[in-house]
Subunit: 318 residues, 2 copies
């Protein structure tokens, strides 16, 4: 029986196995994903991002609890900063798993931000698809950071949540501006801190001035103290309000088209590279190119051109 | 006269123009880069990264000043968090430029973390190459963040500097662990803060336990108060010590080979994608694929496979 079939029958070990295969970039995972695809599409995806230290993990825990009390099954994809050399995710499944270890309605998977060949946003989307097909009602995608990777990841979600925290320092204005347009819901966590009011006020002002949104949703700034559970019920209500808005308007069509376009482009990029690079590596040519580059016998642009020209030579006449 | 020729004659406006072309992904930029390549390779590249709020910009300013006093020309590539929709870098050239506006020995360029088709690490490498060919003695690459993008960017530098700041919160342990192996020099900035000693101690301990380094360099933890200039002279000395170590050992060969390999792979990935995607977009087929995906008439894996199989069909018999 294929992993996909086992997963559709509720086998969580098969799901974990497929997620590992996805993370390792196995070609076989693609076939399983194709089989799962028709069974996906009903989960509600929530993307949560924000700078380090904003308390996102605690918030995700609390939101998970809240959805569990509503009887929903919750999947969590935690995209963690990685050790680039050892390749492991730092905040591993183990730490997180402990909190919901006895709850069969919660499935957690940490992904390392390796991005060697395929980008981490690819793996994240694939893992979210597996959770969706597993029958998770809500899939929370959590990332640390504010870079392009994180933006790509949270854009996959129906509702994008940006978590801020009072008084993070110099770069925060830049970050705020950078994420204003991607957030559907803003959270000022640790709102018991003395400068929380100012952060809420600044964010609200910036949101009011922001006219770049393509839809007519007006993001709100919510306050939470995640470690005490304060503000979580209101936050989940706001998620549901956004979800209803999205699915009740033309915005859902644009969302699905944009997501389809991005997913297609990412997979295409990976596949093309794998197709051309694998033979170069196998026959030792890549090693020679690297040696030429290290010794400056060729520039990288010309080296690539030679490979591309050769590979597409047969189709160049079309 | 080509942009490259003008740049080699010291025309900074031509350099700024080429950097814009690089950022915009113009194919013509590749030809210019090929011309510049033989004139590059002598600049000393310093990569500086760290979480938001660590005071990196101020530190970069101070390091720039220090190198200017040594009579060195300094290029700065600032990779800034971007507004994903408007596409502009937030902390723009203008803010930074003001500080060194009258100094012809400093050239600054901000890059937006867009990463649409080509990744930002590609553009950063290309811009650093232009600065190198312009005759900058030192090129500082500054990024905000701790994700894979930032790791890819700072790995291009001869010396990688990780800036930390006391007491940043929960996720900091994860980040520390993630960057331990990439840092050649660690800086605890804002070292006048009360918990600075603890941060220095923790970092030092973690570095001592870390055995994953491929070379025999032992990274130090330096203390600075960048806004007052404290510790900057010592920091620059440490950069130079690392530089001598790198160039005086076999480590430089490994560095050049790894950099060559990464650069080649990144350019290859971009070129292949552009080669295949452009015609799909031009003839309207991409729009039809997106429509099929949005309406779930096909899954993205199968959609990509069809395109790849078709494009490589002519060469499949080889």
């Amino acid at each position: 029986m294929s992993l996909a079939e086992r997963i559709l029958q509720g086998d969580t070990r098969a799901a974990a196995r497929l997620m590992r295969d996805i993370d390792d970039g196995y070609a076989s995972a693609r076939e399983e994903l194709k089989l799962l695809y028709p069974h996906s599409g009903s989960a509600y995806l929530i993307g949560i991002t924000g700078p380090p230290g904003a308390g996102k993990s605690t918030l995700v825990d609390q939101v998970t609890e809240a959805y569990r009390r509503r009887g929903k099954r919750v999947g969590i994809v935690a995209v963690d900063p990685t050790s680039p050399f050892t390749g492991g995710a730092i905040l591993g499944d183990r730490i997180r798993m402990n909190r919901h270890a006895d709850d069969e309605g919660v499935f957690i998977r940490s992904l390392a931000t390796r991005g060697h060949l395929g980008g981490v946003s690819r793996s994240t989307g694939d893992v979210a698809l597996v959770m969706d097909a597993m029958g998770m009602d809500v899939v929370i995608i959590e990332t640390v950071g504010v870079g392009q990777d994180e933006v790509d990841i949270v854009k996959m979600a129906h509702t994008t949540v940006v978590v801020m925290v009072p008084g993070l320092g110099d770069d925060i204005q830049a970050i705020k501006a950078g994420i204003l347009e991607i957030g559907d819901v803003f959270v000022v966590n640790k709102s018991d801190r003395p400068d929380a009011d100012r952060t809420v006020r600044e964010l609200t002002t910036m949101l009011e001035m922001n006219s770049a949104r393509a839809d007519d949703w007006r993001p709100k700034v919510m306050r939470t103290e995640a470690h005490r559970g304060t503000g979580i019920a209101e936050l989940v209500e706001e998620f549901e309000t956004h979800r209803s808005h999205l699915f009740g308007s033309a915005a859902i069509n644009r969302f699905l088209a944009e997501k389809g376009a991005r997913t297609f482009m990412e997979i295409l990029k990976d596949r093309l590279f794998a197709e051309v690079f694998a033979p170069l590596e196998a026959d030792g040519r890549f090693a020679r190119i690297v040696d030429d580059l290290a010794n400056r016998r060729i520039d990288p642009y010309s080296a690539v051109e030679a490979v591309v020209a050769e590979r597409f030579a047969a189709g160049a006449d079309n």
